[in-house]
Amino acid sequence: MERVTKEEVPSKILQALLSTDSDISVDGALENEMILNMGPQHPATHGVLRLLLRLDGETVIACVPELGYLHRGYEKMAENMTYYEFIPHTDRLDYLSPMANNVAWAMAVEKLAGIESPARAQYIRMMITELARIASHLVAIGALAMDVGALTVFLWTLREREKILDIWDILCGARFTNSYTRIGGVANDAQPEALAKVKWFIDQYEPNLDECEKLINTNRIFIERLDGVGVISAQDAIEIGFTGPNLRGSGVEFDLRRATPYLFYNEIDFNIPVYKEGDCLARYFVRADETRESIKIIRQVLDKMPQGEVLANSPKKVLPKKTEIYSKMEELIHDFMIVNFGINPPVGEVYSAVENPKGELGFYLVSNGEGRPWKCKIRSPSMVNLQALPMLVKGHMVSDVVAIIGSIDPVMGEADK
């Protein structure tokens, strides 16, 4: 890899922008080209994403995305804290679905330490992952519609999401930064009121989504702005490393829930929505259909959820129950040991990936037997999905760039880590 010094960076970006082959000629376009800086403080780039666009008239000839404005060094920070302490930090990766990130982290550490979480905890995890998926897709759908001019849909999908946040408020005590899972289970048992609210939510969700879809699905402006825009073929999507709804919008039926079943997804009956076109509209359709499938999954999960413990019985690795800490000496000692020295998983390395709303979220952990990870690599879907941006926007108008970013649905907290 080529190394560049700090002074060289701006000129390198400019060079990349200029050297990209530009054999697109547009009839009647302006003679002179122009470089446009879009972002990082642009309302349509979904966070601090900076794009440098080379324009011919209003047509994009080349694009260089610049990432890293939200870099907080989470991979390095993970090396300096115990596995337990890193849980709140995973909330802040993909901040639209913190619950799903919590589950991904807990599952990676459990795989590393060899802990089996109890059945009830796993069912609760499935429920919250699917709710997180709905919440995340609702924001994606709403933001995409808002980017192309339909503001009402954004307000209506956010109203639905608000109901999910209310569920999380009851379930774990926080609306946004949940930190709900623990190594070996979940933080607290799901209360009956929370489960009743989930049941209420899934019953009223689909009519409300229909209403949102009624507004835009036959709307000519919405469809014309997305149909055939930002097409990516299945081959290109696989080569770039697309995962999640973006990949399934290109006609590849790949879902980690089906491909490598984790939790109890192999016992659940659900479909994987796939659309062949690979354009912005297909990606939007996939997301809308996926939320319906999530509702189906949650309904089955609620039926199948067993009673029982929510934390594994593994005293040296899992924090004991609160009531036992108050009264028993052994548990008190374990409490102190786990907090002070960590769970000390055996020497080894694991890669554990789950299907997050945005795609495949993977944690690669290397342990040297101490309480902290020796190395933690986060494979974040938004970062990989964004790599396709130069390819997607080439040849489209500036206003299409906004629609394409909205349809890829990046979350910069995750892309920049």
Partner: protein
């Protein structure tokens, strides 16, 4: 499930667009008469459930002493390093007490880990969510602001014993 249509599948009526505008406006008009979803916040307060993780507080026993024994576990586990504890000896049965207990509310991320690891049920999350400061010194809460009588925290303590 609604039908997924592309540009070529649109009917003439949908292409004309005027019926779409009417449809959209009627939907919007309908939702104007639905019950309001929002909360008129400053007048109407949000009442959190027992599981809510608000401002962390120290439990004050009925005799006026805090439950805390200054073991320092909360300050060790705190992911954002917001808690500072200094222990001292006391004549009471618990032998140790926190001479100084400070939580920097600017750093606190309300994760609830301090409450979860506390072996004495001495620090719990309250329902207090309205915090505003005008300077940084004000945001460092000492024992005077942190101590809350146990009666006010009873439903959170019940929640912890039942579900955690």
């Amino acid at each position: 499930m609604s039908v997924k249509r592309r540009e070529k599948d649109l009917t003439l009526l949908e292409k004309i667009y005027i019926p779409e505008i009417v449809k959209g406006l009627s939907l919007t008009l309908k939702s104007m008469f639905k019950p309001k979803f929002t909360l008129k916040y400053p007048e109407e307060k949000f009442i959190p459930p027992a599981s809510y993780r608000g401002r962390p507080v120290l439990v004050q026993e009925k005799d006026g002493h805090e439950r805390c024994v200054a073991c320092g576990l909360c300050s060790r586990v705190c992911p954002s390093l917001a808690i500072e504890v200094q222990a001292a000896e006391t004549e009471l049965e618990k032998e140790r007490y926190p001479e100084k207990f400070e939580i920097n509310m600017i750093r606190c991320i309300f994760c609830g880990f301090c409450e979860e690891v506390c072996p004495e049920e001495a620090i719990v999350m309250s329902k207090d969510y309205e915090m505003a400061f005008t300077n940084r010194e004000e945001a460092i809460y000492g024992k005077d602001k942190l101590l809350v009588p146990v009666e006010q925290l009873q439903d959170r303590i019940d929640f912890l014993r039942k579900y955690k």
